[in-house]
Subunit: 352 residues, 2 copies
């Protein structure tokens, strides 16, 4: 039976007939205690319904066992995956990750970061909200708290970053489209307040350039990074005097939107207009037609980020190397058959 008031190590000590110090030692699994004593103490712990007060402990201990994960949008499975990947690693390291959502809101992010710091976290893994100001992490940095950015980075910051190779992913996808025979391409969705956008757009442009597409045939339509944004982008593109025939989308959501809009116009994604997505969310595989997309392995990046964080905590540093995760293009149906050689049917065979 638990008393109304919370039990402390003193209560346990009395119950077990030992001193508080002995109880503390048992709690920490110290080998200095005689096994019989330890089990006597453990029994008392059970009896009084004791719950350890980590706050009090952290007052003395140097480091806490919790790290904070600050995610810009938990309802996006892509980022949720990231969180889950990190959790796996931390769990086995005996440290507890607390997740907080910023809903892409820098103000909320500020609050969340403050809370986490006050809570005394040992480190922070952050996927920064859109529109985060460059100074938002200065306070945390000067406090000497290890921070890692995941998936996204800030324009000019020394904080280590774990992110996919956006440039290369976009390059691969674009090259694939060009290889399919497309000569007038467009980049759909995203906006320039995101570093990721510039990276992906950069890959797109480089591919166009090196594969002999004129700059005036490498179009860009900015837009929301959502289904709705994708719909709007497609409308805009098709309204052009000389419409493109293929689009690389900022992410899969945009791609789904674009395909939806094509269908609405009785155009078939793949044969009438080629679409490539980015992120390769679970849905991409099951879409109709299945979406060709750049896979980034977000759970894997989450694990990597967690490992980097553990290293930083262990070695008491606030610096670490960036890590750029490999990407690969998963070719499915949304780019249709080869346009140059119409006779050849692109089955499951060769690509590139």
């Amino acid at each position: 039976m638990a008393n109304r008031a919370k039990a402390t190590i003193f209560d346990i000590a009395r119950e077990a007939g030992v001193s508080k110090s002995t109880v503390s030692l048992v709690l920490q699994g110290s080998g200095l205690i005689r096994p019989e004593t330890a089990s006597k103490v453990r029994k008392a712990i059970e009896d009084v319904g004791y719950v350890y007060n980590r706050g009090a402990a952290n007052l003395r201990k140097a480091h806490s066992n919790v790290i904070g994960m600050v995610i810009n949008d938990l309802t996006n499975p892509f980022f949720a995956e990231l969180a889950v990947g990190m959790e796996r690693v931390f769990q086995s390291a005996g440290i507890v990750p607390f997740i907080a959502n910023t809903a892409e809101n820098p103000v909320r992010q500020e609050e969340v970061l403050k809370s986490l710091m006050e809570q005394g976290v040992a480190g922070l893994i952050v996927s920064p909200a859109r529109g985060t100001t460059p100074g938002a992490f200065r306070r945390i940095e000067t406090a000497g708290l290890p921070v890692v950015f995941a998936m996204r980075r800030l324009p000019e910051s020394r904080i280590p970053v774990i992110a996919p190779d956006n440039h290369r992913g976009a390059y691969l996808a674009t090259a694939h489209l060009i290889g399919k025979g497309h000569r007038r391409l467009v980049f759909f969705g995203g906006s320039s307040d995101l570093v990721v956008y510039h990276e992906r757009l950069g890959g797109f442009r480089e591919a166009c350039e090196t594969q002999g597409i004129a700059a005036r045939d490498a179009l860009v339509v900015e837009g929301e990074t959502s289904r709705r944004g994708g719909i709007a982008c497609l409308e805009t593109a098709l309204a052009m005097a000389e419409p493109p025939t293929a689009a690389l989308c900022f992410n899969d959501a945009v791609a789904f939107g674009a395909m939806l809009a094509l269908r609405k116009r009785r155009l078939e994604p793949g044969t009438d207009f080629a679409i490539v997505g980015f992120d390769d969310v679970a849905e991409a595989e099951h879409y109709m037609p299945a979406l060709t997309s750049v896979a980034v392995d977000s759970a894997g990046l989450g694990e990597r980020a967690a490992h980097v964080m553990l290293k930083m905590i262990q070695s008491r540093t606030t610096r670490a190397e960036d890590h750029i995760g490999a990407v690969n293009l998963v070719v499915r149906e949304s780019c249709g058959p080869d346009r140059r050689t119409r006779n050849r049917t692109a089955g499951s065979g060769s690509m590139n």
Copy 2:
């Protein structure tokens, strides 16, 4: 400039030329302090790069400002929505929600709950993992910590529950199918270790019974609650001697799987076989064909759960009333046109 060692209220006190008590008062926004003194202190706080130590404060204060949200599967947008709904409410109440994921693993859940308690949370909102043992929350209950279950409940527990009206949702959906002329129905997916499963299945059965469907025409195929599970369920159903013509699926993921499997067999969801989902995730609307589904407003339920929790904390009680959220059937395309009016041959041998 921040020093290497963390600054405390004593450092601020020295800097501002006041006592630690004064600093503490300022920190708490007490009106007892002369405004000039307060601003002097605030400046010092800024100067030394102070971060509040909530752990130390909680040692004295009765209640902390953090509550824990324990979610069974964050990668499921349905549950992520729930978390986001709660966050909205808590944020404006000045309390900080920390989210933890149990990945549907009771052992992990145990750890997470322990951690959260040790951290000194003021309350817990839990969507219990599948296979949670009835005794898993006894410890927390005897500790007098307020707990609310969201979305899911445990077989025999006195903990308040905020959940959708699963029974009614399933009833509505089934009645819709029967109204469309179907006479041999099946319930797809889920397994009996989940209370939700029994609720939904119960609604399905009651609808069949009261609308004149023989018990032997109300089939059940258990299975994983995922796309893959849905695929398997459909295969099983179509392999039957007398296959059903319509399915109520445990959730939308199962429904998507079933539709996928139909397509693979060159059958058209809606016209050849009717499908209804459950949860109405965002994807349902955009699917091809759009999925008829039971909408449960998970974000709304999250908000409700948060409000209940705030009340419990405020009134220092551990009891509260259950809240069953309204559901409504969103009719889209996956059930096709009315079968009765089209032609009278509803599969083989429907004589009711």
